[in-house]
Amino acid sequence: MTQKRSVSESKASRVFLTAIALVFLGVVLIIPLALVFHTAFRDGLEGYLGALADPDTLSAIRVTCIAVAIAVPCNILFGFAAAWSITKFEFRGKRLIVSLIDVPFAVSPVISGMIFVLLFGADSFLGPWLSDHGIRIIFALPGIVIATTFVTFPFVARELIPVMQMQGAEQELAALTLGASPWQMFRLVTLPSVKWGLFYGSILCAARAVGEFGAVSVVSGHIRGETNTLPLHVEVLYNEYHFSCAFAVATLLILIAVLTLGAKATAELMERRTRPQRELPLKEAKP
């Protein structure tokens, strides 16, 4: 949104500031990411496709997909549950729960992985029991799934909470007075009213699940063709000096990131279009 302002800077300083901003973004963001594509195609299209078709790459894609397929639905469910209870009801300890939802943002990814090693690893309290029953969690797929779920669980909730808060409870109450069952209320009123927030939150959650590196790195054990996710595979290729292959796989991840940004823009646009008719006071329902 550009605002018309009568009081502004001189033309020269406007151009200067814009130039600073663009050069800064160019150096920090654009050049590095453009270089990824440049390097990825250094060996031509064939080399690029070859890198992607490599069995280890395909296996990494498979592992990543499994992690996403489990983590995202769980976190969507959590997002709804948390947003519903936090925004539509009053209870004690609400602030604590809201803060707990932010924990993965405050914790270093390495620590996020480490806590699951401490919980399920060979050295842990549960470790002997797990190994007696032949269950492998750390350095295996389940660990990757759990760490991914942990790192990405806030995203859907963080998108849904402000949207639901803004809408208050009145529409749901209206649905109940009109005779809707709880499920009908949810499906016909709540879900459509948050669908764009849900859409963006889920995409963001999925994108982060695909891209998580630190936490997964701790729990995966880097077993090639078995427990490597896409970002871990990039690391392995890079450390083995297969630069163009590493960058080729990286382009996949950048494409996902760009799609995420596209989804965000779409969601914001659509949300603005179906903006509710008024700026609501935050809580309509009495406690």
Binding site: T2, I20, F24, V28, R92, M114, P231, A257
Partner: protein
């Protein structure tokens, strides 16, 4: 008020009456608490248990080892410097995006979120490629004797990269909602643009800037993926704390890793706590739908 209602409800145990006609509180609350308990509280508590199972002297020796101290210093001051740089340039970016018109503005606006969306490992190799000795920016600098990648400069650049969106996305909405009248009033009172900026606009932005600074700082403090590729990972010189934890984990020194993690957690939670309490102090005014959207965008 809350607690009184609670007591009033408790005093009639025989007749439990629903207070809110909306369905699903038990179910949603139950799921939320179970999920948070199993996924957050139980795993995090392992750090506490592990830490308390250590001898105090061993714990102290681990967290005060020279290598650890060097890592804290690097993480702390690197994150501080990166957050400061982001405050300056992030404000310029936000200013330009809100106030000026130029070709491709919407695209640039969208790109600001890239560090948020791009996996850290990808950012790491991309930054290394650019600033490495053969990179398009690293090579000219190397020729004049400045080594960026595999040195502390590289760590700083990675930290700037990951923290940038936080500052832009907290400052931007405040600039958007700022009344033109305030600046016009300053102008009618004879203030120059520079004076207006320093004495009117910056104080107005200060809380948002502080939040952006803290978020950017916290993110840089914990960052791992993008830094390991560019830092060179030399103990005592370019080894950040998360990397030191990682190294200890790889050597199966879980106790040592936990001790360092405990130090880091205390640091990051303190930052978060300060930010939150400031936000709560700013009060319910900050709860308008508009700022809520803004906060959401900043996350």
């Amino acid at each position: 008020m809350d607690s009184v209602a609670h007591v009033a409800q408790m005093s009639r145990p025989g007749k439990r009456r629903r207070q809110n006609p909306l369905p699903g509180f038990g179910l949603s609350m139950g799921y939320t608490l179970t999920y948070l308990g199993l996924l957050v509280l139980v795993p995090l508590s392992t750090i506490v248990f592990k830490t308390f199972s250590m001898e105090w002297s061993a714990f102290w020796a681990t967290i005060s080892a020279p290598r650890a101290l060097a890592a804290y210093g690097l993480s702390f001051f690197g994150a501080l410097a990166a957050a400061a740089i982001n405050c300056v340039f992030g404000t310029v970016v936000a200013w330009v995006l809100v106030r000026y018109r130029f070709f491709g503005k919407r695209l640039v606006d969208a790109l600001v979120d890239l560090p948020f969306a791009v996996p850290t490992a990808v950012a790491g190799i991309a930054l290394t490629a650019v600033w490495g000795p053969q990179g398009p920016l690293g090579e000219p600098l190397a020729r004049v004797g400045i080594q960026v990648a595999y040195a502390r400069w590289g760590i700083l650049i990675a930290m700037v990269f990951v923290g940038l969106p936080f500052v832009v996305r907290t400052v931007q909405p405040v600039l958007e909602t700022m009344e033109a009248e305030v600046e016009e009033a300053a102008a009618t009172l004879g203030a120059s643009r520079a004076t207006t900026f320093c004495f009117v606009i910056v104080p107005h932005l200060a809380p948002a800037l502080f939040t952006g600074f803290a978020l950017s700082f916290a993110r840089a403090l914990g960052e791992y993926g993008s830094i390991v590729f560019i830092s060179g990972n030399m103990p005592l010189r370019t080894e950040i704390t998360p990397l030191l934890i990682m190294t200890k984990l790889e050597q199966f020194d879980y106790a040592g890793a936990t001790a360092l993690a405990a130090v880091m957690l205390v640091a990051s939670f303190s930052v978060l706590f300060v930010v939150n309490s400031l936000q709560w102090r700013k009060g319910r005014a900050a709860k308008s739908p508009r700022t809520q959207r803004a906060n959401r965008r900043a996350s």
